[in-house]
Amino acid sequence: MRWFAFSWQNFWFSFLALVFEGVPFILLGSLISGIIGSFVPARVISGLLPKSRFPAILVSGLLGVIFPVCDCGTVPIVRRILKKGVPLSCGITYMLASPIVNPLVIISTIIAFQGQAPLLTAGLRIGFGYFIAVVIGLIVSSLPSESRLQKGLVTTGRSSRTAFTIAPLYGSGSEKMEAGFVRKASVAVRMATDDFLGTGFYFMIGAAIAATFNTAVNQRVILPLASDSVLSIISMMTLAGILTLCSTSDAFIAATFVTFPSAARMAFMIFGPMFDLKLIFLYSSLFKKRFVIALGVGLFFFVGLICAIFVSELYAIQDL
């Protein structure tokens, strides 16, 4: 069995499909980002989160319920709220949790797992997805932001004002300065354009690599690993990283891998929305490369460990 067989026809078809599916959501995220950047003062953003670290991270993990944006769309939003002064720990918690802890994903998971303990599966996915995002947020909160973020995102007081940033002026005591709605809207669109081009740049690289592996790798090579509880989890997380599925649809794919243990399928559904080939490049627009790699490796081990120990045990109790 050949594990890798590349075909240009399949590559272009899959690449365009990823573009058509993902780009509208990046556009949506960029527009939200532009609106936040132009219309929402920094103090309003800061006011949404509790002052102390732990509750702020807990709340950040739940923001996906209010802003149900998929993994592609979160990146421009996180980029913007970081520029508005939201702590990196809160931004990263939102970024990791929102593709899982959002109503669309909950519904799709329940539908996909009909006849396979749908409520338990959806509950475990949300619960552990949220827990993992919060833990990562807490770890990140103890690290200095400057060494993790890309240069332009490090907030250093007044000097961090950007080309189109009107909102921070209000937040910094210049409420009297008024900008007309049309001007603000135009600034919002310009900001959205730049965020879109910046994020889209990385997305295209990720989509091209994802399309290559998504179509060229023979997915049957992992089937023999299904009988081993640890290897099955590792192989399903690797597959999730390669397939780069949208979090609203990945449950349908996971549900079809019935030969794999439930814990391995859960690992697929938790790890995939947090880290995959496409996200490596999208995250690179926010974070330094070393941090992206560390995040990926950390998530791989953490999600794997959680699924191998706790999720498999919980499914075993339910006799699943």
């Binding site: 399949n10 006849g115 310009r190 354009t193 730049d194 889209g200 030969t259």
Partner: protein, 260 residues
């Protein structure tokens, strides 16, 4: 001056991408790529890109603000970044739209395997198949000619777990279309369709096994219309479905090649 050039390039990127999105939506090519519920986003996205492109052309970033430091709007002011974005975003998608054949080739059946090989998987379709009304794919349609009913592969698989539908289908001749994939012997083949949830990137093949009395004589991936009778049997806790064909004829690819 550089800002103006960047503006034009950025607008060009947005116009180019927007044109591809709108042309795929307008010409119907998008039907091969996305589930219907995702298609309107392509049209809206295309329109938004044009609006953003026009805004980009009509306005200029404030150079004063940009010079305050910490500006991360690299595309607004740096020619190299604008050109890189144009190349990576616009040119790659334009190339894709030119070279894509709007379908997978045979290799995908090998690489992705058939989703319904395990009988348990047919349960996933049982929720979609609604008897006797029209299902998600417009599946069980009105009675066709010669007392045959037109069904999709998803109906045949869904009927494994849906007893009323199974009883209804099993007593009728069915007309079902799909792509021919040769079986282990000349007396049977796999009638295959791609099933997608969101986009073609997540599509996986599903199939039913068709038994024929003589070799069909068509190449792999040729679209065929099969008229036959489905037979359901249960052994070892698994359901087995076999369609015994009376007629297999080559046809053109249907408008919606994918099932969803």
């Amino acid at each position: 001056m550089q800002s103006r050039i960047c503006n034009v390039i950025n607008a060009g990127t947005l116009f180019g991408l927007g044109t591809v999105f709108l042309s795929f939506y307008g010409t119907g090519r998008i039907e091969q790529y996305l589930n219907p519920s995702f298609r309107p986003f392509v049209m809206v996205g295309g329109i938004l890109m044009f609006i953003m492109g026009v805004t980009c052309l009509l306005t200029l970033p404030s150079e004063h603000s940009c010079s305050e430091g910490g500006c991360d709007h690299r595309h607004a002011s740096r020619l190299s970044m604008s050109l890189a974005s144009f190349g990576l975003i616009c040119v790659s998608v334009l190339a894709g739209s030119t070279f894509s054949k709007d379908a997978f080739d045979q290799q995908i059946f090998v690489n992705r395997g058939s989703m319904d090989e395990d009988a348990k998987l047919s349960g996933g379709f049982a929720t979609n198949a609604v008897f006797p009304a029209v299902s998600k794919n417009g599946i069980v349609r009105d009675l066709a000619v010669d007392d045959s009913i037109v069904v999709e592969i998803t109906d045949l698989l869904g009927a494994i777990k849906n007893e009323p539908l199974r009883n209804f289908i099993a007593e009728k001749n069915v007309v079902v279309v799909g792509e021919f994939v040769a079986g282990p012997t000349e007396q049977n083949f796999r009638l295959t369709r791609m099933f997608i949830w969101c986009c073609a990137a997540d599509a996986r093949p599903i199939h039913v096994t068709v038994e024929v009395s003589a070799p069909v004589g068509v190449p792999d991936l040729q679209w065929v219309k099969v008229i036959g009778r489905p037979e359901y049997s249960f052994a070892d806790g698994h359901a087995h479905l076999l369609v015994k064909a009376y007629s297999v004829v080559p046809i053109k690819a249907p408008k919606d090649a994918m099932l969803y």
